[in-house]
């Protein structure tokens, strides 16, 4: 049996791989969407924070023998704290100004972080072993799926669901959304809005860090891993509609799949297909697929 001229086994295999990558894009763009949607910051440092998360996991394992499961908890926490510090020290001075300032600041920050790690560790990358529990692979019939990749899909989707739930369905989320709409009013109800904003940025950063830990066993941990990915992730957010959480999750998954199939039909274009789609979407729907017209 063939689908679009390729054997159905290979087709299913590519679909699966596309989902793995897509889940990953979804999680990274989710953090970006949260930060943009709630705080109006175009967080260019997201890629660097993702890289720091991966390095934190690697350093913890290499220097102190902290295993993967603890790293999954500790590294995002660390990156989250770093995020809060960045927000308190720099970003809070920029609220109310043109978003371009925030973009430039976070871009500069990402260059600094990348430079520091490059100077310290070089670009070749460090190897992070797959945790013992997730070693090996499962034969799905149409392909061999490494257990670790299956775990990445599962974990990413779970994290996306939880984040969406917290923001859209809980009281905390309601405060957050209200606080970013009208800070003064919410403050009058006794909510500490500046603290909430810091914690939101911290949480977005922690999401990036968490993605970094999840990625570490799959690719080499290198200072360049963030900048390689950040542009694609931005495209995902733009296509999904800036700030739309649901939009970035669905677009992330979809684009992972589209990219996977491009690798089969015309591999040379696989790095740019996302941008071609972005151009088409923006022509038809300038606010993105799930964005609201301003």
């Amino acid at each position: 049996m063939e689908i679009f001229g390729i054997p159905h086994q290979a087709f299913l295999g590519q679909l699966m791989l596309g989902l793995v990558n897509g889940a990953f894009y979804a999680m990274l763009s989710l953090g970006l969407a949260v930060i943009f949607g709630l705080l109006d910051i175009v967080n260019f440092a997201h890629g660097a924070l993702y890289m720091v998360g991966a390095f934190a996991a690697w350093i913890m394992l290499d220097s102190w023998g902290v295993n993967y499961w603890w790293a999954l908890l500790l590294a995002p926490l660390l990156v989250g704290v770093l995020g809060v510090i960045v927000e308190r020290l720099f970003l809070k001075r920029l609220y109310g100004l043109d978003p371009l300032y925030g973009l430039l600041l976070t871009f500069g920050l990402s260059l600094i972080l990348e430079g520091v790690f490059r100077r310290q560790y070089g670009v070749s990358g460090q190897s992070y072993a797959v945790p013992e529990l997730l070693e090996g692979a499962t034969n799905l019939g149409f392909m061999i799926l490494p257990n670790y990749r299956a775990w990445v899909i599962f974990a990413s989707i779970a994290i996306c669901l939880v984040t969406w739930y917290v923001i859209e369905r809980t009281r905390l989320g309601a405060y957050l959304r209200a606080g970013t709409e009208n800070a003064k009013l919410v403050q009058a109800f006794g909510v500490n809005v500046p603290l909430m904003v810091s914690l939101t940025y911290g949480a977005g950063a922690a999401l990036a860090g968490l993605a970094g830990v999840l990625a570490a066993p799959v690719i080499q941990v290198t200072p360049l891993m963030g900048s390689n990915l950040i542009i694609v992730v931005f495209a995902v957010v733009v296509i999904g509609g800036m700030g739309s959480i649901l939009g970035s999750v669905i677009t992330g998954l979809g684009l992972g799949v589209v990219e996977g199939f491009t690798r089969v039909f015309y591999p040379e274009a696989s790095n740019i297909v996302v941008f071609v789609i972005m151009a088409i979407v923006l022509m038809l729907r300038p606010a993105g697929l799930f964005g609201k017209e301003a």
Partner: protein, 400 residues
Amino acid sequence: MKIKTLVAAMALGLGSYAATAQNNAGPVRIGFITDMSSLYADIDGPAGAEMVKWAVQDFGGKVLNRPIEVLTADHQNKADVAASKAREWIDSQNLAMLIGGTSSGTNLAMAGVTKEKKRPFISIGAGSARLTNEDCSPYTIHYAYDTVALAKVGGSALVKAGAKKWYFLTADYAFGHSLEADATNVVKANGGTVVGSVKHPLNASDFSSFLLQAQGSKADILAMANAGGDFVNAMKAAKEFGITKQMKVAGLLVFINDVHSVGVKNAEGLQVADSWYWNQDDESRKFAKRFFDKFKRMPSSLQAADYSATMNYLKAVQKVGTTDADKVNGELRSMKYNDFYHKNATVRADGRMMHDMYLFQVKAAKDSNTPWDYYKLVAKVPGDQAFTTPAESKCTLLKK
């Protein structure tokens, strides 16, 4: 005051005129352009630049009673950046000689500029054999290795060892294309077949889709015609997806840094063609130790070649007594090269440095005794068997 200004302006104008007219004034400038920050920065990069400076320093810092200056730049793997930097240095800094680091596209561009401007150009880290084949130039010397040698030394050993059906995973730029084409020739000449190939973008983040296609090909060897971070990530994914169990995986261009990154466990048994290995003799170990003390890792063959090329260039300048491009070029193409990097090597008319190439095999983890002790020697292949033969060459300089 006005006259003073006028005189100063004239002096400036004359000065730059004089600098281009006779190049025996001011410092001797050596330029080094390589990937300083991206995926090839560890195999050459800032440490490579340091090697050029070490050679200058060990030479005494002066030649023909003129100080030696080293200029370095990052080409970011972009051919236009490399070409415009080379042009700028030659035009405004009176550059005496240019060394090209990694990446084929950038080196082909620099070879074009130096040919037009008539300056010696020593290409170290570029793979593409086009530099001494269809795009050969009387000013280019290709110093370390090339894709033909990788294919002939590494590829033929694999075919002879039983790998008959080949599938290529190829980096989609000048170097990858060259390497795939040269390896294909070698495979066919030795009675093997190529059942397919897939081209991936440079610096690809995920290789799983490409590997799944390779897996469906039923080939018995998956040959990776890529390098650096791309090779490392592809190798890692191949292991993860169980491809290493079904077919043999071979890296056509693997540097010692890559083996270190992948880990000796994952790379065990891999056969690697290279021009130099730090642990091959006492002289090399001495150089390597000095490098290790500074950088906490072992030098790649490219970094060794950076040092060797600079040192030999300075010796040539010393001998002919001028930095005049044609005279130095003549010396570089007639002298014998003898140092820790290569023995009794010569440069052929097409610019190809003819020296021994080696086939190494990555040791099993249990046999790797000291840090960075990764290779055992399988074969030493003399230059005339490793590189393009005059009969195969399309270079007009060889056809006189």
